[in-house]
Symmetry: none
Subunit: 296 residues, 2 copies
DNA sequence: TCTAGTTTGTAACTATTGCTACAAGCGGAG
DNA sequence: CTCCGCTTGTAGCAATAGTTACAAACTAGA
């Protein structure tokens, strides 16, 4: 006992609850030890319930639990519980969000990257992998013509998707010439057409009109949109809801691009043989003849 | 809401809280979704605090949280919290389940996402934040004309970058018409020109030629390339080396897009007032007159 | 045995939590 | 524009959590 000044005092806020229990145990009374016993036997979840439950479980009264918490260096029971929760959080936290813990000094770039990783993770969480597979199947089917179109911001995504699909398979078209010529393409759309649309906020009326008309002609619509959902979702067969928020005035299309790239990979894998041939032909044209690149 | 019997009712007690959120999300109202958002963004620890704290964190009132819990199939908030605690207990108990947070069953999509997150993280680790700031400064300076150009795959990145910069500032040009017309642009390039190039493997000779000529005329070259580095790096003033490998036959430009978006955000922030004006003007043109959208 | 000190539980109190009832706000249909 | 239904927050309520004060019970030393 004695009054030794700092002999065994628990640290300010550094050590874990378990460590404090182990180091302070000899200072505790019998019933207090019983509480620790219970706590350690189902650590740390036993401490995540109410003080009353924990007291009952330990066959002591609630004030005993409080006294123990105090001797461990906490203000009261809630504080001990918070400490416990933080420990759990640390143990739960996946590799992804670890950044803020280490080097992440808070440069814009790092905060931005964290947000994008979060977007990607959360987008994936809520995505239906079965739907992903169906869409890949749909796009791998060359008996269906595929049309691609994006909005002001997502136009680049559409172009990127089209660009790759064009290399992999035949029968793809990019609608990049403005609404006035869309009707021409609509003429050819039917039951065996796939229309891949990109529409994030602010949603564009023209795209909705096009989607409605295409659906009316029996086309299958695949939509890439944000977490809130473009109105086009109403007429689309498959909808990818992707997180687009970023610490910026602009929405981020990174998650969209990620899924697009995954789809490209999957479609390519499904059509390995055919696309390989096609690629070789293309390479041949690029390297031997220089017709289309007119190398300067 | 009516009393639709079992249309989309959550299961008795089988499913996880996350699963219930995802399956019931479309039934929830806007504020209720906000709560789910917060809960998922720091799952499951965000739900381990008191209902009041969670409500505050989600910027809604506590009754909203209760209503959400009910719609998810729980009696009240404490029951939801118990479910959450059980999940945590499970996860803590078995550290064997290393497969991270989102029950990743190893679907292609998840493996792909893991790779992309890895790319982004590793790209960021080796990036010089000072260089990032310099480039942002460079692009925020309207006394310098900025040119954008990408290759076969990265063309979409260049277009995306240009598209946003065009909204934010004046004096930007996208070189998208093929090598034969590049010389025309070269005529205007000089000391106060910035040439933003994208070149990942396989590197394109034409781009290198252009870069050399531009450098000869005194232009500042900013290059986005892969981890191995395009030969253009030799003549570039600033080089972003980004990881592009993915479980695919194609390289991934996700990390590139991420940095581009971060740059857009940063430049926009630097030129807040001017770009704001510009944006308003643009919005006005879009909404009042419909000249350029010819609404179908 | 008595007494001083410690340990522990009981009971009462307060703060907070989780919940209900209601009314203001909002948006779409007629 | 009005009305209706849905959404949301405010205010109040009951229950419970955490805490305090105090007294009973136990321990140990004389």
């Amino acid at each position: 006992m004695t009054g030794g000044s700092s002999e065994g005092k628990p640290d300010g806020a550094e050590t874990s609850v378990r460590a404090r229990i182990l180091s302070q145990e000899q200072r505790l009374t019998a019933s207090e030890k019983r509480v620790c016993e219970v706590l350690l036997s189902d650590y740390p979840m036993a401490g995540m319930q109410s003080i009353t439950k924990l007291a009952e479980l330990s066959c002591v009264s609630s004030p005993t639990v409080i006294r123990m918490a105090r001797k461990l260096g906490y203000e009261g029971f809630p504080e001990l519980q918070n400490a416990l929760r933080d420990e759990v959080a640390d143990r739960i936290k996946a590799p992804a969000l670890k950044r803020d813990a280490r080097g992440g000094d808070g440069h814009v770039l790092h905060r931005f990257a964290d947000a994008l990783i979060g977007n990607l993770t959360r987008s994936l969480e809520r995505m239906d992998t079965a739907m992903f597979d169906e869409v890949a199947e749909l796009l791998a089917d060359t008996s269906r013509h595929a049309y691609f179109l994006g909005g002001r911001i997502t136009g680049a995504n559409a172009a990127y998707f089209h660009n790759h699909m064009q290399i992999i398979r035949t029968g793809v078209t990019l609608l990049d010439q403005g609404p006035s010529v869309w009707p021409h393409y609509l003429l050819d759309m039917g039951e065996r057409s796939v229309l891949v649309l990109f529409d994030i906020r602010r949603y564009e009326k023209d795209l909705l009109r096009l989607a409605e008309l295409a659906q009316g002609r029996g086309a299958t619509i695949v939509l890439f949109t944000d977490q809130w959902g473009s109105p086009i979702a109403q007429v689309a067969r498959h909808v990818f809801h992707l997180q687009v928020e970023a610490p910026s005035n602009w929405d981020s299309t990174t998650a969209i691009l990620a899924v697009v790239e995954a789809l490209i990979a999957e479609v390519q894998a499904k059509r390995w043989d055919e696309s390989q041939e096609r690629l070789e032909e293309l390479e041949a044209m690029f390297s031997s003849t220089r017709v289309f690149r007119s190398g300067g």
